[in-house]
């Protein structure tokens, strides 16, 4: 073969190596945890009705969805609002499309028997299990200091250490771990992080800027399908829960139902279902300001770059 053919073939080979081979028509959606009610709407979404072929990839502890979007190993992913801003500051062009939790459900749970009045009291003694690298944790440290409490890594959904020790407080999603604890016979007091003024959008559907640019129609269809899915899930989570329970047997069916109910106030704050998941620039701006103050990002960035309501 002549030189041109050879170069062309080599270039094609290299290009093919760069992107993971998959069916061009299938869109991948990478979750950042195991299938549970926080992803209910994504499992309930009628993708085919909107002309889409979507493959949902369940995740687990530490699934790097924001990097996966940047590396193009997934077209869509679930991220948290603050990690999206930090990713953008590092040069990763991730864009938010749909925010499931309009209010951040992150919180700290403590044994009710401790009779602690405020989140600051939790930090006066005992053990605190948190993901220290997360921005909310550093806001807590800045505000209250960790001098009197022993900080250990968050066990991520596992409450056995919590159950064993009365002075053990743990990071949680307010509609998840506290319910597990109550079922295990321990009454808990939950302090939402939002109470100290930190309230990023959470469980956010995101994609890469490049994906958005190259295929805006399918991104729009995706959001429409997801919106419809969440509407359906809020009305009747039962069938979708059954499907997710098969994928994630670690929680029983009754727990799935309870959590799905408890998470509603964090999702449905608008009166119209048609604006489920939509976001405001103001909220993003607040978040960006807080992260800049913390030093997690070198400087503020335009809020409009972080999201699209499509």
């Amino acid at each position: 073969m002549n030189r041109r053919t050879f170069l062309g073939a080599s270039a094609a080979l290299l290009a093919a190596c760069g992107k993971p081979a998959h069916n061009q028509k299938t869109l991948r959606l990478a979750l950042n945890w195991k299938p549970d009610p926080q992803f209910g709407g994504f499992y309930a979404a009628p993708y085919q009705k909107h002309g889409l072929d979507v493959e949902i990839l369940p995740g687990g502890a530490g699934t790097p969805t924001v990097q996966m979007i940047g590396a193009r190993s997934t077209e869509f992913g679930i991220v948290s609002g603050d990690e999206l801003v930090v990713a953008r500051s590092r040069g990763n062009d991730v864009v938010a499309l749909f925010a499931v939790f309009q209010n951040c459900p992150q919180g700290i749970m403590a044994h009710a028997s401790r009779h602690v009045a405020s989140i600051g009291d939790v930090m006066k003694e005992g053990t605190l299990a948190i993901q220290r690298g997360l921005p909310y944790a550093r806001i807590l440290e800045k505000k209250y200091g960790f001098d009197h409490v022993k900080v250990v890594p968050s066990p991520g959904g596992d409450i056995s250490a919590f159950l064993h020790d009365e002075k053990f407080a743990q990071q949680c999603f307010v509609m998840s771990e506290p319910l597990l604890a109550r079922h295990a016979g321990v009454d808990v007091k939950v302090f939402p992080v939002a109470d100290i003024g930190y309230n990023p959008y959470t469980t956010v559907l995101a994609t890469s800027g490049a994906q958005l640019k190259s295929d805006p129609d399918r991104a729009k269809a995706m959001v429409a399908a997801v919106r419809e899915g969440w509407g359906a899930y809020l009305n009747d989570p039962g069938p979708t829960n059954a499907g997710m329970h098969d994928l994630n047997p670690s929680m029983d069916a009754a727990m799935f139902a309870e959590v799905a109910e408890a998470q509603k106030p964090y999702i449905e704050t608008h009166q119209e279902r048609t604006s489920l998941g939509s976001m405001t620039a103001e909220r993003w701006m607040t978040l960006i300001g807080q992260l800049a103050d913390l030093g997690d990002i070198p400087q503020a960035m335009p809020a409009q770059d972080c999201f699209r309501n499509i």
Partner: protein, 250 residues
Amino acid sequence: MKKFLPPLIPFVVVTLAVEWMVRGGWVPSYLVPAPSAVLRALFDSRDELAAAFAKTSAAALIGFALSTFTGMAIAVLLSSSRAIQRSFYPYAVFFQTVPIIAIAPLLVIWFGYGMKTVIASAFIVSIFPVIANTLTGLLSTDPALRDLFRLYGASAGVTLVKLRFPAALPQILTGLRVASGLAVIGAIVGEFIGGQGLGSVVDVARTQQRVDKVFAAVLLASLLGLGLFALINLISALTLRRWHTSEQTR
């Protein structure tokens, strides 16, 4: 210097290539940090990293020392009779196969958050190669030499100390080489769960999307493993120098 040159050249070439690719934008810096960024992270966080390195080293060394002595003792016991070996060896294999990530939360429940859990993790992950290699070494003693010792009335204990153990030394050291690296890995895993040392630095930096710091901590962990490996090699050279082929063709 001649000894260090061959492995140094590919290292320098690759480092320069990565630096060039990241600077030029062919590889995104949020996926792969430029080596210069890693160096800067090493410098900027030097106090934190130094303290973390000290903690991880201590845990890995203690865990490794424990697995060395316990592993050798277990191997001596297993080698003493076929019946004991058949009954208990499968349980030793359990240490090899148990996934440490799965039992690390259990370790926290038993040992609490802190050094003890990390040491336990390093111990569990590194003990099996010590047992397996020491056992093989002890079972491979030259039968003629065992006869010789019997001829002069040597007890089992004397035979173990003066014959079987020295004869098994090359094999034992092979086991220690493998175990030393595993002890570092075990310590890091224990630290993910137990929350201190280099493992904790990696975990926290990961959630902050500080890839440069992650790589800096990983680099230090690798150096720790390398250091332990070099230590075993030194011991091997000193003890086997006079008589074992492995240390003689230099």
